[in-house]
Every structure is written in structure tokens, then in C-alpha cells.
């Protein structure tokens, strides 16, 4: 996984709440056996609509998605994260994320910045008033920043310390866990014999 420290990119206002992972990428697009190529299915149902934000310039070059609360609820499909990354997104800002989506994003290197509802509202207003405005997402300082002058929007975001550390270092979870292989083997030696087995 590539390390994430800071990113500056065009913000995309997605004025919707409860954007579940079926809307991010419908099931019919989940049939690939690779991690790439899912960008085609991103927001598939909305992409036919010319007024959809990602069909408009300059939002189509956006890399920071700003969404309403409960983004990424529903199905566990990590393809939702891959589809956003495939389409160039580096970060998603929302007041609340679905748990599994957020965990998947942390593993795959997509930053999920949880901010207050009001911050999302202000970002939406700015991005719509001044299309092409960029958002700075700084994982070191845990801040999001957009606009300039008196209307500057700057606020801190929530992300757990452990995920932040892994993202900053670009660390792979499996190697981290395998460093504790002895603990796993010791635990296995203690497991009762009546536990279920498939073979």
C-alpha cells in the first residue's frame, strides 16, 4: 500500500446521505477477479444523468469526494473502495461512514476523513459556488482545508490513531500481524478440541 501523508485535489460535492455501497458500485459490476477496472461501475446508476456531478467539468477531475452522512453503509464489498480509487479519488470526507467501508478504505489506502456535518455543508457550498476549488487533506495534522481569505474552511477530522499510523507509513497489515506469529501459535495450542473444523 502507498503511504498517505497529504493530498491536495479538486473537491466533488456529493449532496446525498446514506450513499450505500450498492450505489457506489452495483453488484453486477463485482464480477471481476482483479483489483482494478472497477471505475466503470462507480455510481453506475447516476452516471447516465448528465447533471450528475461527476459528469461535469471540472468535477470530473476531482480527487476528494465530499458526501453526506452514512457514506458506504451496507454491503462489505471492498470493490466500492477500489472503484473510487480507480476513478482517481484519494480521500472521502463525510460526517459518518459505514464501518466496513471505512475499515476497507483504511486497508486499501483511501483516506476517510470524518468531519462535522457543518463542515460538509460549508464545503458543499464552496465547491458549488466555486467549481474546481481544491481541498487540502493533511493526515499528519489531521486537518481539511479549502478556500481562502475570510471564507477559508479549516477543521480537524477524526481517524483512529492506528489506521492513521498505518496509512502514514504505508504498512501492510498482514506483515504486522505475522510479526506476532508465536502468539498466534500459542493461542492455537490452547484452543479446545471441540471447536468446529471444516476438514
Amino acid at each position: 500500500m502507498d503511504a498517505f501523508t497529504t493530498h491536495t485535489g479538486i473537491g466533488v460535492p456529493l449532496r446525498r446521505s446514506n450513499v450505500d455501497t450498492d450505489q457506489i458500485i452495483p453488484a453486477v459490476y463485482l464480477k471481476r477477479v482483479t483489483r482494478t477496472g472497477f471505475g466503470d461501475g462507480l455510481f453506475a446508476a447516476w452516471r447516465d444523468d448528465p447533471s450528475f456531478v461527476l459528469n461535469q467539468k471540472p468535477y470530473d477531475d476531482g480527487t476528494v469526494l465530499v458526501a453526506g452522512p452514512d457514506f458506504g453503509t451496507g454491503s462489505s464489498r471492498e470493490h466500492a473502495v477500489w472503484a473510487l480509487q480507480d476513478r482517481g479519488f484519494k480521500a472521502v470526507i463525510s460526517p459518518r461512514f459505514g464501518d466496513i467501508f471505512r475499515s476497507n478504505a483504511g486497508k486499501a489506502g483511501l483516506l476517510t476523513a470524518q468531519v462535522d456535518d457543518k463542515v460538509v455543508q460549508r464545503l458543499w457550498d464552496l465547491l458549488e459556488a466555486e467549481p474546481g476549488s481544491v481541498i487540502d487533506v493533511d493526515l499528519i495534522e489531521r486537518t481539511v482545508r479549502a478556500g481562502d481569505g475570510p471564507g477559508t474552511i479549516e477543521d480537524s477530522f477524526d481517524i483512529d490513531d492506528y489506521t492513521r499510523w498505518r496509512l502514514l507509513e504505508g504498512l501492510d497489515d498482514i506483515s504486522l500481524t505475522l510479526a506476532h506469529e508465536e502468539d498466534i501459535a500459542a493461542f492455537e495450542a490452547r484452543r479446545p478440541s471441540w471447536k468446529p473444523a471444516t476438514l
Partner: protein
């Protein structure tokens, strides 16, 4: 201070705990299917890693498999590739697989309990959010993404932060004709789609204890629909009776040792939950959704709500969008809504008791003109049991379609999909936009409501049917 059931199961599985890091949890059972696993196996291959415990791993084909001509090669080449990829991976990594055509094939959350692999006090994960189903046995079970699937394959563990605990206590008794599905839909409408976020939930109280194992699975299945990490129910005699004699359940002295341990898996009297909710089952009625998330529901006796009636602005806007998508007018009585397709099946309601209830309703009646009834058993064993009992004949004589086992129209990944604007009454778990097919409109319902709706062609309860 005492501990909750969830805390007991958690503590028993901590391999390693360190300040400032998530706990490393041991996973007792890892269920695998064709859609969320190929990239995980690829990751193992490219890192030169093996599956640590193939003996704690089970794979099946369920999400994209056809429910017609399932004994023929899969027609859709992309689906076929995905299924064939799982078969190759299972072979290469030494994993037990129940493929299409096998007697134990079926929806992953139906075959685990059916085989007796889902046991109290275990940790169970799967690359599918409805893994919460297994919580009905007092297991700590939750859905994971593909990176985590790879992590579990490689290490049989997962780093996890300790969740908060919540109790949902349901007192009273469900009235006749009101089911576990109505109970959980009522709960979700009450608390909202994000209400369970960050919590492991324990469902308890007389109304929960009175449920069969299958009813308990229906409740736990939908934990994720209100954002909970997992949902579980303390194991009791009903649980033990369900498990005894199943192919992979412990036997002899192992059974006695297991039951002795399982009996300790209850929340201590002096344990504290971070949050508690109470509901009264005796006030519940058949419950259906009108919108595009599972919290947008009302009693069947009610009407499509007015967007202005919501206190929060956001909910009003979401309601307006949902009504436009669903093609509904505020104020329309739910019972006046015409339905094109009725789907009975899924990991929520595709078990044998569900099919018996549906068959009892349609027996001797005809599916309404202009309405299609699709009955999809959750597993091959469920299908064979239903056929043994003659349920398939009842559905077919009523004009319904009887299919092979799989996830089917719950998520429309195989050919079983809604057309744009087609309206369904579905016993599944999600009414999201496009979930059952692009532009499809889904109403989540219980099994008896689904069956009665098939007969009348409009959303209905069994009480609406004419006597025969």
C-alpha cells in the same frame, strides 16, 4: 463487574493485546464465496503465503450463481470465470468447497448453521456483511472486506478495536402473523440506519427467547442494516437442540464439554451495556418499507409518509429522493401499492420455516394476474427438504416459480433481476436504489406479507385474504 455475552466471546479470542493498538482476535471459522475472495487469494499468491488454517475455512458458490439451469455450465462468461476462479483457489489452497451441484451448496449464511459449523461462542467472519446472521447462536460474527479476507486466510486472525456494547430488549409476545422480520424492521425504523454504528448488539428478552433459531437468524441477519458491527443472542436450549446431531456439531464427550461451556455464555447480571433500548413486541404489526433504506418503513396498515413530517431536514430530503425513486405519492395507503414481483428467499428469509409459512399462505390459492412469485430456497438442503414436504408443488400450482439455491434476486448479481421501475415485495434485507436491478423498486416485507401480496397483487397481510 460482570461481562456481557459479547465481551466474554471477545475476551476468549484475544491472541494479543497492546496499548494503542487494536486487539488481535483469533477467528474460529472463515466462510468464503466467489465474489469477495479472488483478489485475496491473488494477494496470497503474489506474497508467497499459504492459507494458515484450511481446516477452519469453508467456501461455497452463492452470490452470482444462476437459479435456473444450475446443472448446466454458467452462461454468463464473467460469472463463470469468477466461480471457476474460486474452484481453482479452493483446490490450490486446500479449502473445502461446496460448489454448484453439491448437496451442501447454498447461501453461505444458511449452510454454516445447517452443517452445525456455526456454534455458540465462536468468532466467525466472511467477506459479506450479513455474516451477522450467525450471531443467532451466540457467536461473534461480522462481515469483512477483501483485504481482511486475505488477512484471515494468511493469519487466521484480525486486528479489531473493541466495540461498544448495546442491549436491545424486546418484551411481550409477537401477535399472530407478526414475525421476526417485522420485529427487526420495526426496530430499524425506530433507531435509524446509523443507530447501531460502533456497537455489538445483544438481542434479549422474552420475545427474542420465544423465537425459533431461524427467527433469531432473521433478526441477527439485519443487524448490519442499522449499522451494528454484529448482533448476537445468548445460546439456550433452543440453540442446543438445533445443533445436536448436525454433521459438524461436536459429539459424545466433546458435545458435553461444549454445552457446559456454551451455558456460561450469557451476560452476567451485573454487566453494563454502553446503551440499552427497549421495545414491546405485543404492539408490533406487519411492517413494510416504503423507501430506499431499511429504516424507511411503516406498518402495513399505514401510509407513505409526507417528507415534511420528518423532524430532521436531512431525513426529509432523503424521503423526497426516495419517493421519487420509488414512484410513490405521499399519503398513499401501503395496502394500495401494486407489486409486480414477489421474492421469497435470501439469507434473511430463505430457510425451511420461511418456505413452510409461504406455502401455507398460497396453498389452494392463485398468484394474482400480473404478479410474479419467485421462490428461491437458501440452500440445496432447504430445497430438497421443501420438495420432500411437497412445498414446491404448492408454489407451482399457485402459479409461482420454484428455483435452485442461491442469493438470487436479493442482490441481482445473477439473471434474477428487476427491470427498471419494476416493483417488488421482497423477503430480503436491502431496499437500496438498484439493489435488485437497475431502477428496480423494492419493498422489504416478512414472509407471510410476501405470500399474501403474491395472491392479492398489492401489499397485503394474510388477514386480507379471502377464506378458502
Amino acid at each position: 463487574m460482570g461481562r456481557t455475552l459479547a465481551e466474554k466471546v471477545w475476551d476468549e479470542h484475544v491472541v494479543r493485546s497492546s496499548e494503542g493498538e487494536p486487539d488481535l482476535l483469533y477467528i474460529d471459522l472463515h466462510l468464503v464465496h466467489e465474489v469477495t475472495s479472488p483478489q485475496a487469494f491473488d494477494g496470497l499468491r503474489s506474497a508467497g503465503r499459504a492459507v494458515r488454517r484450511p481446516d477452519l475455512t469453508l467456501a461455497t458458490e452463492d452470490h452470482n450463481v444462476p437459479t435456473l439451469d444450475w446443472d448446466q455450465p454458467i452462461k454468463d462468461p464473467v460469472s463463470r470465470t469468477q466461480v471457476e476462479t474460486l474452484r481453482r483457489n479452493a483446490e490450490e489452497f486446500g479449502i473445502r468447497l461446496h460448489p454448484l451441484g453439491d448437496l451442501d451448496q447454498g447461501i453461505v449464511h444458511i449452510i454454516g448453521p445447517q452443517l452445525g459449523l456455526t456454534q455458540p461462542g465462536t468468532t466467525i467472519v466472511c467477506g459479506d456483511s450479513h455474516t451477522s446472521t450467525h450471531g443467532a447462536f451466540g457467536a461473534l460474527a461480522f462481515g469483512i472486506g477483501t483485504s481482511e479476507v486475505e488477512h484471515v486466510l494468511a493469519t487466521q486472525t484480525l486486528p479489531q478495536s473493541r466495540p461498544k456494547t448495546m442491549a436491545v430488549t424486546v418484551t411481550g409476545e409477537l401477535p399472530d402473523g407478526v414475525t421476526a422480520k417485522d420485529l427487526v424492521l420495526t426496530l430499524i425504523a425506530h433507531i435509524g440506519t446509523g443507530g447501531g454504528q460502533g456497537y455489538v448488539v445483544e438481542y434479549r428478552g422474552p420475545a427474542i427467547e420465544a423465537l425459533s433459531m431461524e427467527g433469531r437468524m432473521t433478526v441477527c441477519n439485519m443487524s448490519i442494516e442499522w449499522g451494528a458491527k454484529a448482533g448476537l443472542i445468548a445460546p439456550d436450549e433452543v440453540t442446543f437442540a438445533y445443533l445436536k446431531g448436525r454433521p459438524e456439531a461436536p459429539r459424545g464427550a466433546d458435545w458435553d464439554a461444549a454445552v457446559a461451556h456454551w451455558k456460561s455464555l450469557v451476560t452476567d447480571e451485573d454487566a453494563r451495556f454502553d446503551r440499552e433500548i427497549q421495545l414491546d413486541a405485543s404492539t408490533m404489526t406487519p411492517f413494510v418499507t416504503w423507501g430506499t433504506n431499511p429504516a424507511q418503513g411503516v406498518p402495513l396498515a399505514g401510509s407513505v409518509p409526507h417528507p415534511e413530517s420528518f423532524e430532521e431536514d436531512g431525513d426529509g430530503i432523503a424521503a423526497r429522493k426516495a419517493l421519487a425513486y420509488m414512484g410513490l405519492e405521499a399519503g398513499t395507503p401501503m395496502r394500495d401499492i401494486r407489486v409486480d414481483t414477489v421474492f421469497v428467499g435470501s439469507c434473511t428469509n430463505g430457510r425451511i420455516e420461511d418456505l413452510r409459512v409461504a406455502a401455507e399462505v398460497v396453498r389452494g390459492r392463485r398468484v394474482a394476474d400480473g404478479t410474479r412469485l419467485l421462490v428461491v430456497p437458501g440452500s440445496v438442503r432447504v430445497r430438497l427438504q421443501a420438495e420432500d414436504e411437497g412445498l414446491d408443488v404448492i408454489f407451482k400450482e399457485a402459479g409461482g416459480e420454484w428455483r435452485g439455491a442461491g442469493c438470487s434476486m436479493c442482490l441481482g448479481m445473477n439473471p434474477d433481476q428487476l427491470a427498471p421501475q419494476e416493483r417488488s415485495a421482497s423477503t430480503s434485507n436491502r431496499n437500496f436504489e438498484g439493489r435488485q436491478g437497475k431502477g428496480g423498486r423494492t419493498h422489504l416485507v416478512s414472509v407471510p406479507v410476501a405470500a399474501a401480496t403474491a395472491i392479492r397483487g398489492t401489499l397485503s397481510s394474510t388477514a386480507d385474504l379471502e377464506e378458502i
